[in-house]
Amino acid sequence: MNESVRLDGVSKHFGDIVAVKHLDLAVAEGEFFSLLGPSGCGKTTTLRMIAGFEFPTSGSLTIHGVEMALQPPNKRPVNTVFQSYALFPHMNVAENVGFGLLMQKVESSEISTRVKRALDMVQLTHRAEARPKQLSGGQRQRVALARALVNEPEVLLLDEPLGALDLKLRQSMQVELKELQERVGITFIYVTHDQEEALTMSDRIGVMNEGLLLQVGKPEEIYEHPTSRFVADFIGEINLLPATVVDHQSVELQGGHVVRAATGAQPGEAVTVAIRPERLTLFELDQIIPEGANTVRGRVIRRTYHGDVFYYDIETAAGVLEVKEENRPGVELYDVGEEAVAAWSPRATTVVED
């Protein structure tokens, strides 16, 4: 892979507090990479280290092969879109956007051209004379983007830029941002705690928790094949069942039920079986179940209506399972108290070892 940003053995200590324990990460050229995790996991600290607002306590940080770990932010070929936008209140939009060019001593006629082009790109040319306080949240966000991109940075860093926007606006901005990145073609490193956002926008996601990078991969990989309990639990909804390994192809659930699942763990090891609710299907007791499927029998204890789907909680010997069924004509409805069989494909069974 063509690397744009690479972190090797990066850590960050604030006195006794370890914000980032040990990070090895390579971001590919031109990719939309998201750092995803709960508050306090170290993702923002990592972003700030790439931007230069913090120096790593140890480790190497290269941008396009050049060691940058100890460079001040104004010497790095990266620009940042801040969570609070940080637009300069005493300057108008055009002056804000042109600030970086001014600092780089670009000629003033070129500044005007490039500023205009950047504002066109975010559709804010008509507001060039306005002050930040006269703009809406979405408009400020776009000014922040233009201000960063006009400098043609090698990498663009975004720190939860959509957090302050309402849902509809956020969703449309997600699409816009993704399209923008594809058009401009540079690496975007995006920090968020919203896993839906990460799943929709990213080429790859890095999931962090407590200062460690737990898993890096494409959204589908993260979602379908989480490699740790935390990642499985953090992304989307999931059923987590304790189990013991029988052999490399089967595990034993609580209650003695054995199901087929691929695993590299040793027989006898305690593991967790992770199954997405939408991968489970309910069958009536006398229905025929496809060959090879894993099955477990139980009783419906709850049913909730979500408009487009139904959620069922099934109590089984192996634990309570959450099943997601589409609300479509032809799909059987189950009542509370009814006995049913939950079935799923072995391929949809992920075994995590922690």
């Binding site: 200590h13 120096f55 060691e67 770990a69 100890l70 790095r76 070929p77 090698e154």
Partner: protein, 297 residues
Amino acid sequence: MATDVRTVEVATPEFEIAAERAAARRGLLIALPSWLYLTLFFAVPLVIVFVYSFATRSSTGRTRLEDWNLESYRRLFDPLVGEIALRSLTLAFLTTLICLVVSYPFAYYIATRRPAIRNVLLVMVMIPFWSNFLVRTYAWRVLLGTDGPLSQLSQALGGDPIRVLFTNTAVLIGLVYGYLPFMVLPLYAALERMDWSLVEAARDLYADGLTAFRKVTWPLSRPGVIAGSILVFIPALGAYVTPQILGGARTTLLGDYIVSQFLAARNQPFGSALSFGVMAVMLAATIVYFRSGAKNL
């Protein structure tokens, strides 16, 4: 862009420490001019006063920087000093109390107006506040004179001429007048910052107006009360100009007393001890404020 790379080093804990030290040095450099100035023209004078308080007064009133003694401090416990101190403390306390009682409803009123009106009212409070203190105090000298306008007004209404000037009451009025804005502004700031939905919540939970005030508004505005009280009490305690203009010979206060040690009485060691003592009391009061009020802010 990456042409002027400073070092090609990997990060290490030592670098972090070095970077912090460099930043600290920069800060120290920026602080240096004012630090030097304040040390020379504030800390040193303070030390000198402290030193002088242990000196001896010669028979001619000159200060001899020898024969160090605690005479001046012993004299602080004289009944006369105690009387003056008590009078000053009482006056300062009364001033603070009256200011509080008058200012609270006033600040409350302003804080509960519409923002546009609020700003106008605040400006109207600021204007006298920024006006010359001496002149404002002098205005009361004119007002309270036996032949003055207030006196004429009371006579016109069939009463006696006012004989308030040169009494403690006049000084009290002058002090309240002078320091009222110092109480209004912190109170206003605290009330304006308050979350009024809490009061509404209290009303929603069946509290009547008085209870809501007692249990919600008052406790939440306490930092403002404390700040305002300190801002009034401390200057009132050391007041000099106001008593000089509005008070009389019978109402010697600490400020007058200290100044007279450097003029008529020519007893610099004693004056120094007094100054230092008053300052120590104020320092204690301020520390009390920071201990109690600051944690509520």
